[in-house]
């Protein structure tokens, strides 16, 4: 009985145990299934969060791109300080965009709200945080890494780096963060050097005759058409800075073979003749050295002075007003370390300079035109630092205590360049008075290129500075001061434009968009000419083409660079600067021609290799710069035309208004190599 009773108990126990095991197994199985379901839901929720994050990221990138687009010229940035972005090397710090504002605008944007509704509403999904950062650790400066042209001092404001976007989204309690990094560039969209020039020709081969055009006794060209170079006005209402005037460079002539360039001023058909001598480097006046061997380097500035053929006709040689006197200057490049290659004889302070017009008939210098053949080239040095005249009362005396002609005075120069038969001392005195007008009205010599500033750094009106003359003339231990005024533009310090090599290191590092050539110009138009005004160009950055390109008619509303790396650029329609925006476009051919087949081009034209070609049917009319390594002057002077310098393009490198920050397209090119492909 007990045994049997025990058997029943065991059986019962076994049944219970089996049931328990079954229960446990099934419960575990259920738990496992539940866990798997939970995991799968987490995956789905995470995926959904990522989908929302991707959409928010898309919108965020558009917002930031738009924000960057504002750095072109508008400067109405909301999420970061533009000034922080363009700080130079040493001052630049990590830029954190305003996360609160960005999160707010993204999460409250209509598109994201609409999207979140699809996913179940704001109680289920939300954008938690948005961040955009440019870490200073990831920023490099073009001057450090891109191998700039050796003679161009790097611009330390220009940089590239990584911008990181981060979007955090929560969906059913699952939080996902999406991060994306892209490259950015922050560059100045004007060509670094040549924007300061009206006309720049790097090489003029020996023996080149630039004086192609003959004029009659009235100054009217008999053959050819002149090129008028307009360098701006010194007394322009908009600016008093001489930096607002264009420079002219005609380089590479050896000192032994001065390049004699005959010019006339005025933009009328006929003109008043001038004579200019351009030589490669200074050479010493042996007589000067003999007389003033202890002078410790009296030197004559390189800048604008000379003889006007009209000087005998007006009180000061035809100069009626200071504005007339100073309204245009032929400025040539120079630094103390590399003296100007140019010595100019002739009054170039005129509004217009006409290249290549001269009269082949010899005159006596009183007929307002022609080759002043009586004027012999002077041989004084042109180091360009000290002034050409003294400012004290004795300056205007012609002779020193020993009865010798004082060196380095306007009178002395007159003596050097004007023969006695023209008038002797009277003429020299008049000439000195004439020249001293220049000294009175312009920041002379290097000072001319380095405007005097007040304590707040604001350019001063020279005419309102009581001790202006004193400031102009350096004081110190040497003959005319141990502290010569600083060079014009420190960008060129230690450089010589004749040594300037212009290659792809110059411009290509800045290119933000690349196109194959004209076949992709449609894409270019989609990107940069897509406004309601069909010919309006809104560039704001640098683009490159690697093939021939034909530019149509364009109205520049936002400037920048169009660079053709290989091939020709044909300008087939007028390129006009919209006066409302006052922007500058640079058109650069690095390995081809720029073919101008338009009536008017408001742009900086730079041809780094072969030169520029001109269609004879059109007279050239450029508002900007024309720069080339070499040029066919025969062709140029059959076409003729006018180049007017645009002061707005002469901004200093640290001028914040011409920097543009762009987000670079992703250029990664992933390639899968299968094992079978390996050889």
């Amino acid at each position: 009985m007990r045994i049997l009773s025990n058997k029943k108990g065991i059986t019962f126990f076994i049944v219970i145990a089996i049931l328990a095991i079954l229960l446990i197994a099934i419960t575990s199985y259920n738990s496992m299934l539940r866990s798997e379901r939970y995991t799968m839901y987490r995956i789905i929720y995470g995926d959904n969060a990522l989908i929302i994050a991707e959409a928010a990221m898309d919108l965020l990138q558009r917002i930031v791109e738009y924000e960057f687009a504002l750095t072109g010229y508008e400067r109405k940035n909301t999420y970061f300080k533009y000034e922080d972005l363009i700080k130079p090397k040493g001052e630049f710090k990590t830029v954190n965009f305003d996360s609160t504002k960005l999160t707010d605008v993204i999460s409250n944007s209509d598109p994201i709200k609409a999207l979140i509704e699809i996913f179940g509403g704001s109680s289920i999904a939300k954008v938690k945080k948005v961040e955009v950062t440019i870490d200073e650790k990831n920023v490099k400066y073009f001057g450090d890494v891109s191998g700039q042209s050796p003679n161009i001092v790097p611009n330390l404001h220009e940089k590239f780096g990584i911008i990181t976007y981060s979007v955090q989204v929560e969906y059913y309690g699952i939080t996902k963060t999406l991060n994306i990094s892209k490259q950015i560039k922050i560059i100045n969209v004007l060509p670094k050097v040549l924007r300061h020039f009206t006309f720049f020709i790097k090489n003029i081969p020996k023996g080149t005759d630039l004086n192609k055009i003959l004029v009659d006794d009235s100054g009217v060209p008999i053959n050819g058409k002149p090129l008028v170079l307009y360098n701006g006005e010194y007394n322009s209402p908009s600016s008093l800075s001489p930096l607002d005037q264009g420079m002219i460079f005609l380089g590479n002539q050896p000192a032994s073979e001065p390049l004699i360039l005959k010019m006339s001023h005025g933009d009328s058909t006929s003109g008043v003749g001038e004579l200019f001598h351009l030589i490669r480097k200074f050479y010493l006046d042996k007589e000067f050295q003999r007389r003033y061997e202890n002078s410790k380097g009296y030197q004559v500035g390189h800048t604008e002075y000379g003889v006007s053929s009209g000087m005998a006709n007006a009180r000061y040689f035809g100069i009626q007003t200071p504005k007339d006197l100073l309204s245009s200057m032929l400025k040539l490049y120079c630094t103390p370390a590399a003296p100007s290659p140019t010595r100019i004889l002739g009054n170039v302070n005129r509004c217009y300079l006409r290249l290549g017009a001269y009269q082949d008939k010899q005159t006596n210098g009183t007929e307002h035109m022609g080759d002043m053949t009586f004027s012999t080239p002077a041989t004084f040095t042109t180091a360009g630092v000290p002034p050409i005249t003294e400012v004290d009362a004795d300056t205007h005396g012609l002779l020193d205590e020993g009865g010798k002609l004082k060196p380095v005075t306007a009178e002395w120069i007159a003596k050097k360049i004007l023969p006695d038969e023209l008038g002797g001392m009277d003429l020299y005195n008049a000439y000195a008075e004439f020249m001293n007008q220049f000294i009175d009205y312009e920041p002379y010599n290097y000072s001319m290129l380095t405007p005097i500033k007040d304590k707040n750094g604001v350019d001063c009106d020279p005419n309102k500075i009581p001790d202006f003359k004193t400031k102009l003339f350096p004081s110190g231990s040497n003959s005319y001061g141990g502290n010569p005024a600083k060079p014009a533009d420190e960008e060129y310090t230690g450089s010589d434009l004749r040594m300037l090599s212009l290659d792809e290191k110059y411009a290509i590092p800045y290119a933000s968009y690349k196109f194959s050539g004209d076949k992709e110009f449609t894409d270019f138009k989609k990107l940069f000419m897509n406004g309601s005004q069909t010919d309006a160009l809104k560039l704001g950055l640098a683009t490159t083409f690697e093939g021939d390109i034909r530019l149509p008619q364009m109205t520049i509303q936002k400037g920048g660079m169009i660079i053709c790396k290989k091939g020709n650029i044909t300008i087939s329609g007028d390129i006009t600067a919209d006066p409302v925006y006052n922007q500058t476009l640079a058109i650069i051919a690095m390995d081809g021609d720029i073919i101008v087949d338009a009536k008017k081009v408001d742009a900086i034209l730079i041809s780094l290799k072969d030169g520029l070609k001109f269609e004879p049917k059109n007279s050239l009319d450029i508002s900007g710069t024309l720069a080339a390594t070499s040029m066919d002057f025969d062709k140029l002077l059959t076409t003729g035309g006018k180049i007017s310098y645009r002061p707005c393009q002469a901004v200093p490198t640290n001028d914040t208004n011409f920097y543009y920050a762009s987000i670079q397209p992703d250029v990664r090119n992933w390639k899968v190599i299968l094992d079978n492909d390996k050889k």
Partner: protein
């Protein structure tokens, strides 16, 4: 008799045991079935989400201007196939996918904003049970064109 009574189970005992086991088994089976149904459901939702994401990825690879209402429509796995999506993995029965593209032009970025943008919302829903909306996966994405101000 006594031996027999003591050595075996009575009919009542066996019936009670069977009843208890039955109740337990039914509950367990029900639980298992439910779990299985839930798992199937989530698996289908994963598949649905993938079908939906296929469309989103497909459309986002197309230029903004080319994505239009011609991509709208309903596909039913195994029968109706939208030729616009011929490059996508085929739907299998019982999945059913519908796409709706909503286009917005010159809309303020957000309330009170001066910035206006063009954008499109791609709304994709995938069903795997035609009889109930609870078997529906609904996701969407944005395509942002540009600011238009």
């Amino acid at each position: 008799m006594t031996k027999n009574k003591s050595g075996g189970f009575t009919l009542i005992e066996i019936l009670a045991t069977i009843a208890i086991l039955g109740i337990i088994a039914v509950n367990l089976l029900y639980s298992l079935t439910e779990q299985h149904r839930g798992t199937t459901d989530i698996v289908n939702k994963v598949i649905s989400a993938n079908y939906a994401k296929d469309v989103i990825d497909y459309l986002k690879a197309i230029p903004y201007s080319d994505v239009d209402s011609s991509f709208n429509g309903v596909e039913i796995g195994g029968s109706t196939e939208n030729p616009k999506y011929k490059d996508l993995p085929k739907l299998v029965n019982p999945f059913e996918r519908s796409v709706e593209i909503l286009e917005f032009k010159d809309k303020p970025l957000c309330s009170g904003s001066n910035q206006k943008i063009n954008y499109k919302i791609i709304k994709v829903s995938v069903k795997f049970d035609k009889n109930t909306n609870s078997r529906l996966t609904l996701i969407g994405t944005l395509m942002v064109d540009k600011f238009t101000n």
